[in-house]
């Protein structure tokens, strides 16, 4: 990217924002030039979200100023931001499910929206121009996650947009969809729009962005040109020097089947749910099987039927030789199942309860209850042990579960399950939202459990993670499971095709992801 003679599109000078108990942004400086794709890199909790909320007018900074096209400005609220030409695509979509695409976009445009008819035409033409065709008359709840993201982007594009902010846009997409998105973004930048691309995925930043600003613990820890760096050096900027960042684990193949799913069909009661179609899967003792997939393709339903929240026909699920389809979750736990659900607060842990009580919730089977009475000192010792072994950052076992950051709570939940020495562990998104250091610790714990002879099933959207820890790998799409292959024989491209529902094509390599 050449130096542009015109003033930067957006300049941040000394932005600071204090929240109770944490300094989210500390003296942040940032320049984004017109037509530049600028990455904002950082781990969870580094202050990325706060910073973009400042730019979008959702949060007022305590100190510092913003310059827009060289002029100081105070962004009052999101409506003001949109008037300036700032558009934002949220990680959790801000769409209204019962309204149509056109109605959703009309809402965001305010009084400029005009009549719905012409607007729908505009949506159709803009979305086609940027290669993201969507039907303006469909209601949001009928759209896939990828399509919803398109709606969010098109919503920004139908306005006169000068700066597009995307918050972790690729986390919900298949590798192929990511490529399509990047083509769109490059086209936009080519037309002069600035793009602020928030991510922690280094290879994507390297492939797409002209410049990067790295945040760590609320401060700018470095700036770089991603094309000239390698991912390790950028990762060092993100996590600091002392954290080990990557490693590889030896792959193993187990022998004795411990978890067996045969011909599992399940009709979902949820209108937005997915029906499971003829699922067959075996997980052996001493191996990790990874299931990739874009959210909402049947993972929830599959996990619920394995955990016992959703009962199914008795002989469709076996733990070793025991049919368990009709058993309740705690009967399955008694057999030796441990389960790490996707939602930490609400299913993995009770938000208002202390860590001790939460430890008790699934640990009650391993001697924390005697003669119907809770052995509190044992439960407390158990909680302390989890906190110490898994380096959970918390004031103590009395802390409420919802006072912990997502990553710390996840370490606690994983620790709670693993320390009960399960024979089968099922984990959904084990490191979602967890920083690199903690993720490495969780991966090591999973590998250790595997080596002790447990059968482990990991469902995740993070493909890199699955390739790192899985011994065999496959994908789920629209309720159907792909064939499961030994990881070394698979590839990201092949897995991507499987995530898109193409299970049969030969494993030919074609156009590697940039």
């Amino acid at each position: 990217m050449k130096q542009n003679p015109s003033p930067p599109r957006l300049t941040l000078r000394g932005i600071s924002k204090q929240y109770p108990g944490c300094l989210a942004n500390d003296d942040i400086h940032l320049d984004i030039a017109p037509a530049e794709i600028h990455a904002l890199l950082g781990e969870n909790g580094a202050g990325k979200s706060t910073l973009m909320k400042v730019i979008y007018g959702l949060v007022k900074p305590d100190y510092g100023e913003l310059l827009w096209d060289g002029l100081p400005i105070e962004v009052k609220d999101p409506a003001h931001a949109r008037k300036l030409g700032i558009g934002m695509v949220f990680q959790h979509f801000s769409l209204f499910e019962t309204l149509t695409v056109t109605e959703n976009i009309a809402l965001a445009l305010g009084d400029d929206a005009g009549e719905l008819g012409p607007l729908a035409e505009k949506i159709r033409s803009v979305s086609e121009k940027y290669g993201m065709a969507i039907n303006p008359d469909r209601e949001i709840h009928t759209l896939s996650v990828g399509e919803r993201q398109r709606v969010e982007i098109v919503r920004c594009l139908v306005q006169n947009i000068k700066l597009l902010i995307l918050d972790e846009p690729t986390s919900v997409l298949t590798p192929q969809e990511v490529d399509t998105l990047f083509v769109t973004l490059r086209q936009l930048a080519h037309e002069g729009c600035s793009i602020l691309f928030i991510s922690h995925k280094l290879n994507e930043v390297k492939a797409l962005c002209h410049k990067a600003t790295v945040l760590r613990a609320g401060k700018v820890s470095g700036e770089c040109i991603p094309a000239e760096e390698d991912t390790t050096s950028m990762a060092k900027l993100m996590v600091g020097d002392d954290t080990p960042i990557s490693t590889t684990y030896p792959k193993k193949l187990g022998s004795t089947p411990l978890l067996k799913i045969s011909d599992l069909n399940l009709t979902s009661d949820d209108p937005f749910g997915v029906h499971l179609k003829q699922i067959n899967l075996t997980v052996n003792a001493g191996e990790i099987v990874g299931i990739a997939g874009v959210a909402g393709n049947g993972q929830e339903e599959l996990l619920a039927s394995l955990s016992g929240e959703q009962r199914c026909q008795n002989d469709t699920i076996h733990f070793a030789d025991t049919p368990v389809g009709k058993l309740s979750p705690d009967q399955r736990r008694q057999w030796g199942l441990a389960f790490v659900p996707e939602e930490r607060l609400g299913r993995g842990a009770v938000p208002e309860m202390s860590l001790t009580e939460n430890a008790l919730l699934t640990g009650f089977l391993s001697g924390l209850v005697s003669k119907g009475m809770v052995a509190w000192h044992k439960a407390e010792a158990f909680a302390d042990e989890i906190i110490a072994q898994y380096k959970v950052k918390t004031p103590g076992r009395h802390a409420q579960a919802d006072s912990l950051s997502g990553g710390n709570l996840q370490k606690f939940i994983i620790g709670r399950e693993i320390m009960q020495n399960p024979r089968i562990l099922i984990a959904a998104h084990p490191t979602w939202g967890v920083d690199i250091g903690a993720a490495t610790a969780i991966h090591k714990a999973l590998i250790k459990l595997r080596d002790q002879g447990a059968a482990i099933l990991v469902v995740s959207e993070d493909i890199d993670e699955l390739f790192l820890i899985s011994d065999r790998i496959g994908a789920i799409c629209d309720g159907a499971l792909s064939p499961i292959k030994p990881t070394p024989e698979s590839s990201i491209q092949e897995l991507g095709r499987m995530m898109a529902g193409d299970f049969n094509s030969p494993t030919c390599e074609q156009g590697a992801t940039p």
Binding site: K53, L58, V59, K60, D77, P78, A79, H80, A81, R82, F90, F93, S94, L95, F96, E97, T98, L99, E103, A106, L107, A108, G110, D111, A113, H141, D269, D270, P271, F272
Partner: protein
């Protein structure tokens, strides 16, 4: 059954259904914004007592209706302040508002029980009122009934076709997303709550100034609750509120109908019909999960906290 009886039943059905229609329209708009206000009964009673006293003292029905509406709005603002500014639980606050309104209206109105006023007269429209069967029903009513037709049409257009209506639905479905794209969540909810209060006040005034022109303690007799059931019965659709209000109106005069036909059925037994109908509708709605999740405003009853 003779023509006269049918004409009278239809006339009474609309007349009885009118206060229900008015309150239910207010509650529906309020619930569309995601706010569940169970204080209808209390707001209606305050509208009824204030409207009655003002008319008795001033002799002006117009002034009475206006102050009835204002009383309803003020009551709803109490609800608004507590649930919006202090983020209190909507259900508990609404129930408290009903209890408060019941007590306060009885206290204010204790000296005026049984005093007579000149109620609202029907307005006949020449030519139309004399039509057989539907003439009296649609064109032989008083001004507030005609107003309720207009309110219904306006609410129908507002919710289904106007941009502010779209904002209302968006706020009721997902206030956080609405806030993120810059929609005024607080303002929308306040206006919806106030509209609910105004309608409850008007309906209360209608009861004490037109329907039975006198004040009696607790004279709304559960109509606020019926209206709440009515919104569910209508599955949050404006069009069905009209149908439901008139049906519920019919149900509450059924004992007169039966008397006219020579049966005698306890009016208490017949009074359960609206609730029974509501339960049946609820069962039908929830039998299909796909439908049930999409009918009610998704964040109904959830407080909204502005972040940052």
């Amino acid at each position: 059954m003779d023509i006269d009886l049918i004409t009278n039943i239809l006339y009474a059905m609309i007349r009885t259904g009118t206060p229900l229609l008015i309150v239910a329209l207010g509650e529906l708009i309020c619930e569309k914004s995601g706010v569940l206000n169970l204080g209808q009964e209390g707001m209606m009673l305050m509208g009824a007592v204030i409207g009655f006293i003002v008319t008795l003292l001033s002799g002006s029905l117009l002034l009475g209706f206006m102050l009835a509406i204002i009383a309803g709005v003020l009551m709803s603002l109490i609800f608004g302040l507590i649930t919006m500014e202090l983020s209190a639980n909507q259900v508990a606050t609404g129930l408290a508002l009903t209890i408060f309104g019941t007590g306060l209206s009885a206290f204010i109105g204790s000296d005026y029980v049984g005093k007579p006023i000149e109620g609202l007269d029907p307005i006949f429209i020449s030519g139309l009122t004399d039509l057989p069967i539907i003439g009296r029903m649609l064109f032989g009513q008083d001004l507030v009934v005609y107003l309720s037709f207009i309110l219904f049409a306006a609410a129908y257009w507002f919710v289904n076709y106007s941009r502010p209506g779209l904002v209302l639905k968006a706020v009721g479905e997902n206030p956080h997303a609405a806030n993120a794209i810059g929609l005024p969540v607080f303002k929308t909810r306040y206006l919806a709550i106030m509209f609910g209060g105004a309608m409850a006040g008007l309906a209360g005034g209608y009861l004490s100034l037109a329907y039975t022109p006198l004040w009696a303690e607790n004279m709304t007799a559960g109509r606020g609750w019926i209206a709440l059931a009515l919104v569910v019965f209508a599955s949050w659709k404006v069009g069905r509120v009209l149908l439901g209000a008139w049906l519920f109106g019919l149900a509450s005069i059924l004992h007169l109908v039966f008397q006219g036909l020579g049966f005698s059925v306890s009016p208490n037994l017949l009074a359960i019909l609206p609730y029974l109908a509501t339960v049946v509708v609820l069962v039908i709605l929830s039998s299909n999960q796909a439908r049930s999740r999409l009918v009610a405003p998704m964040s109904l009853g959830n407080p909204f906290y502005a972040k940052g």
